[in-house]
């Protein structure tokens, strides 16, 4: 391998000077490489750390907040959920299948490293315009990669979201989330305990794949990025499956003091993180590391990001039993070093010391940059854009256009490729509810899971958009009857060194933090992916929220499908008319502008509480939140999923019908209920000070929306279902 300069490794001149000051000498090649990966944005969060402090991270439900491999929340009965979301954007831009597959592998390791059995996968994907053949190839490859890896592991992929926008043309976003279930007394943390403990490496052999992956993830994509294909790792889900089963067996028998997966920055990062928590040191001999390729240097071994490897620090005297369990699963575990007391990270090649740096210099020593954000000119300009005087657009035609827009159309083409039922817990499957719902066997409980972010809204107004992402996630869980507990996020932005991008980050994070605080959904884990830019521009700021919620009684769950003819359809929440940032404007008028509708957090909080009460009392039969496509699309989706038409009278004046139909303003839900429960629901709504508007009734085979006696939309249910159901499949044929 050609030698790189420190600049090529991603270090700044001042950072190199800092390293020299720490060591009191010039670092050698290996040491420079170790600093470069540990001080990359991907590992060190040097640009985002000050901003992340804004997030609320505590609450009575939180067992483990940020700082570990994943966050943990209490769900009662000595059980807890372990979860995190992570990006694998740049690898997917170069090599979609393996990039996505190893993204899944990495997040799954984060979960079982903590002793939890992974029970669900979700994802959040962004691609460019599907008209483009290369984009379709990326989309196809990423979905196949997620499927190929997750299906093989036998972990169901139960939910997610996919959006398309030209800003992602060359830089797709691929965020994967994993949720695990653990008994509280079996939680494992990544800490080395005692001086002298051996450090074991288990799993796949180490190769040259993925060297400097963490650095690659921390720079912009360029025309020559394809040359970085060696920075993309190759996944082996079978190996990962063996590791899951073997490692969980170690935990059940209480054999490990510390366990850490090898992800970004490979051995360097996992060893440093294991030792630094207790101020210990470590020595490792690279000649003990089983290699896949010949002639690998210490530099390559320490920086390799070969997948499916785990680091284990055994409890004293348990090495033999550990080796036995790994042998049963056909895995080799070798001792590659030991924990020391001197606070140094020493790398040996046999007897020869080839690198030596203070452990904490790699971790806590990572520089932090507080930057100055500057409001970009587009912000005021697009906010002031006149969207009140649009040319006329036929409403029925608009609805059909929206139903076939890839952002709104059924995602069946995607989730059909994911095994979403293995483990036999998936009670609300993809497409049937606003969130996925899983039962927890041998209890009455259920968990609801979702990922959300409307990045167009975030682009137009990062603060409001950040709020909206958290609100929508919480609302989606509540629509299924689940109380939102906590969230994880994946902050996908452009280059933070650019003041306009930094401004987007600052404001989006502030918005998310405000919403998370009021909705009592603390941030317990997360990941930051910056430098999502290609030669033309940055991606839309995309801070994805992954949220988990709890149903005390799974029988209280609710889907979005209309259930029975004659049921009342009501709108819970205000009648709103803001069209800013809507899919309607984008699809029908080619406009991405306007003032982003704001969420009143207190109102959102009341709406969520009310939904929970309605579900607990069994007063509603369906609930679907209003998001992309507005009220018109929400009604249509409930009808399509329930295979039942409806007749609705639109509130508001004749001049407002377009706005009322297609506004995506938050804090609103379309519900259906038995007529005899209407009075009870109205009473509850007035108690929560929320408006309730009767829209119409379920029934028939047509979708009919009128206003003041004028029929605005009169569509055949089957035609709507076909348009919505087959649009994406047709594009991908």
């Amino acid at each position: 391998m050609k030698e790189l300069t420190y600049r090529q490794m991603g270090l700044l001149d001042e950072e190199y000077q800092q390293i020299k000051a720490i060591l009191g000498r010039e670092p050698n090649y290996l040491e420079t490489g170790m600093f470069a990966v540990m001080w990359s944005e991907h590992c060190g969060y040097k640009n985002s750390r000050p901003l992340l402090k804004m997030f609320p991270t505590e609450g009575p439900q939180v067992i483990q907040g940020p700082g570990e491999n994943a966050g943990i929340v209490d769900i009662g009965d000595n059980q807890a959920l372990v979860f995190k979301i992570e990006s694998h954007n740049h690898p997917c831009a170069i090599e979609p299948y393996q990039g996505a597959a190893t993204g899944v592998g990495g997040i799954v390791r984060d979960i079982f490293t903590m002793g939890a059995r992974p029970i669900a996968l979700l994802n959040s994907l962004r691609f460019g315009d599907l008209e483009n053949a290369r984009v379709r190839q990326l989309f196809r490859g990423v979905v196949a990669g997620i499927a190929g890896y997750g299906n093989c592991l036998g972990i169901p992929t139960v939910g997610g979201e996919v959006y398309f926008h030209p800003s992602y043309q060359e830089n797709p976003l691929v965020n994967a989330m994993c949720v695990g279930l653990v008994n509280r007394d079996e939680i494992a943390l990544a800490v080395a305990s005692e001086v002298g403990s051996p450090i074991m490496l288990v799993g796949a052999k180490t190769g040259r794949d993925g060297i400097h992956g963490a650095t690659f993830a921390s720079e912009e994509l360029t025309d020559s990025s394809a040359e970085k294909r060696p920075s993309v790792q190759v996944g082996d889900p079978f190996m990962e499956k063996l590791l899951i089963e073997a490692c969980l067996e170690l935990i059940r028998e209480d054999l490990v003091a510390g366990m850490q997966d090898l992800g970004a920055a490979g051995l360097t990062s996992s060893i440093a993180e294991t030792a630094s928590k207790k101020g210990l040191g470590v020595m490792v001999d690279v000649t003990k590391v089983p290699l896949r390729e010949e002639g690998m240097t210490p530099y390559e071994i320490m920086l390799s990001e070969s997948q499916e490897r785990m680091l284990i620090v055994p409890r004293p005297g348990k090495e033999e039993r550990i080796a036995e369990i790994f042998a049963k699963w056909g895995l080799d575990a070798v001792v590659i070093g030991k924990v020391t007391g001197d606070g140094m990270f020493k790398v040996y090649e046999g007897e020869v010391l080839v690198g030596e740096v203070p452990v904490t210099a790699l971790t806590e020593g990572c520089p932090v940059y507080v930057r100055q954000g500057i409001e970009p000119p587009y912000y005021q300009e697009l906010k002031a854009y006149d969207i009140d005087n649009l040319p006329d657009y036929d409403l029925q035609e608009a609805l059909l256009q929206l139903l076939s827009s890839p952002n709104i159309a059924s995602k069946k083409w995607v989730y059909r490729q994911y095994d979403h039922q293995v483990m036999t817990n998936t009670v609300i499957v993809p497409g049937d509810g606003d969130a996925a719902v899983l039962r927890i066997k041998s209890t009455d409980k259920g968990v609801a899971l979702t990922t959300d972010c409307n990045s167009r809204m975030v682009y137009l107004d990062p603060y409001r958009g950040g709020k909206l992402a958290v609100c929508e996630a919480a609302r989606n869980l509540a629509c299924c009857g689940a109380r939102p507990l906590a969230l994880t996020n994946c902050l996908n932005f452009g280059n933070p060194e650019k003041p306009h991008i930094y401004w987007q980050m600052q404001n989006a994070i502030r918005g998310m933090a405000d919403a998370a605080r009021v909705l009592n959904t603390p941030v317990v884990s997360g990941n930051v992916s910056l430098y999502n830019e290609s030669t033309t521009a940055a991606v839309f700021p995309t801070p994805v929220v992954g949220m988990v919620g709890l149903l005390q009684d799974i029988n209280q769950r609710c889907t979005m499908s209309f259930q029975d003819e004659g049921d009342m359809i009501v709108l819970l929440g205000q009648i709103r008319t803001e069209l800013g940032g809507s899919e309607y404007l984008a699809v029908c008028h080619r406009i991405e502008a306007g003032e982003v509708p704001d969420a009143d957090l207190d109102e959102e909080s009341r709406l969520i509480e009310m939904l929970l009460e309605l579900c607990a009392k069994g007063l509603i039969k369906s609930a679907h939140d209003i998001s992309e496509g507005g009220l018109a699309v929400a009604l249509t989706e409930s009808a399509i999923k329930g295979q039942m038409g409806f007749r609705a009278e639109l509130p508001g004046t004749a001049e407002q019908v377009t706005q009322v139909l297609f506004s995506e303003a938050p804090t609103r839900v379309v519900m259906s209920l038995a007529a005899e429960n209407l009075e009870a629901v109205e009473e509850i709504a007035s108690r929560y000070q929320l408006p309730l508007t009767i829209l119409g009734r379920v029934g028939g085979r047509r979708l009919m929306i009128s206003n003041g006696g004028h029929m605005l939309i009169d569509l055949d249910l089957d035609q709507a279902a076909k348009t919505w159901g087959e649009a994406l499949t047709c594009i991908m044929k």
């Binding site: 196949a144 093989c152 036998g154 059909r416 490729q417 039922q421 483990m423 066997k441």
Partner: protein, 234 residues
């Protein structure tokens, strides 16, 4: 009665089958690790779904060499009930306990969805709980479930009435549209000539409880239980 669920490295529906047998069908059940050499004490065996050995060669092609397989084959030869589901079916094909082979799905993608299955016979140990031509709704989840056999084999399967389950539409017709993966003659599940080895691509264990949206699959497990208990009573 006692079921054994064979666990290969990479099996991932083992716990699901175990759960249905123990908690829904309320029978005794144990896992059988693939390195075990005998299957004594079991009344019926299940080879569950998954990706044994990663399915990196051909699906099921490595698993058939597992140490437990000679015992499974011997168990089958003596007439013991064996159910292979999904990857389990693929392993039974590779082991020669059932005829035919699997190709990649016609779409070349993994498919996970609920399909209609027609029950073609009810006088077997696997289907006596169903009505003839009953239509079951059962999920499939596979990338290689496109069953293939040559014309002679197909004729033999038909003549011997070995084709137990076929993909069909909601009216029970074996149409091309109802065939999710391109299988010859819409074949979803077959039995051997003796009638004691069943291989099927759909997953009955995923639809054996109403909370999961249906329990059409439970009948397969209950049929085997009824049949075994009937035999032991005789």
């Amino acid at each position: 009665m006692k079921f054994g669920v064979v666990v290969f490295p990479g099996s991932n529906c083992d716990a699901d089958c175990y759960h249905v047998i123990r908690n829904v069908a309320q029978q005794d059940v144990e896992y059988i690790w693939h390195q075990q050499h005998d299957v004594k004490g079991f009344d019926a065996l299940v080879l569950p779904g998954g990706f044994s050995y990663g399915d990196y060669l051909r699906t099921g092609a490595i698993a058939r060499f597992s140490p437990v397989m000679p015992a499974v084959i011997e168990f089958a030869r003596r007439g013991g009930p064996v159910i292979g589901i999904c990857n389990g079916f693929q392993i039974l094909l590779e082991a020669g306990l059932l005829p035919g082979a699997m190709l990649r799905n016609r779409s070349l993608t993994f498919i996970c969805e609920t399909v209609n299955l027609r029950v073609n016979r009810t006088d077997t140990m696997f289907t006596n709980r169903y009505a003839k031509d009953q239509i079951l709704q059962i999920p499939i989840a596979h990338g290689e479930g496109n069953y293939y056999c040559d014309n002679d084999t197909l004729k033999r399967l038909q003549d011997n009435q070995q084709i137990l389950f076929t993909y069909c539409d909601s009216e029970g017709r074996e149409t091309e549209e109802a065939n999710p993966n391109g299988s010859v003659a819409n074949i979803a599940g077959i039995i051997n000539e003796q009638g004691n080895v069943l291989g099927m691509m759909p997953h009955p264990e995923r639809c054996s409880e109403p909370i999961l949206g249906g329990s059409d699959g439970l009948g397969i497990f209950l049929s085997v239980i009824d049949w075994c208990q009937g035999v032991s009573r005789k």
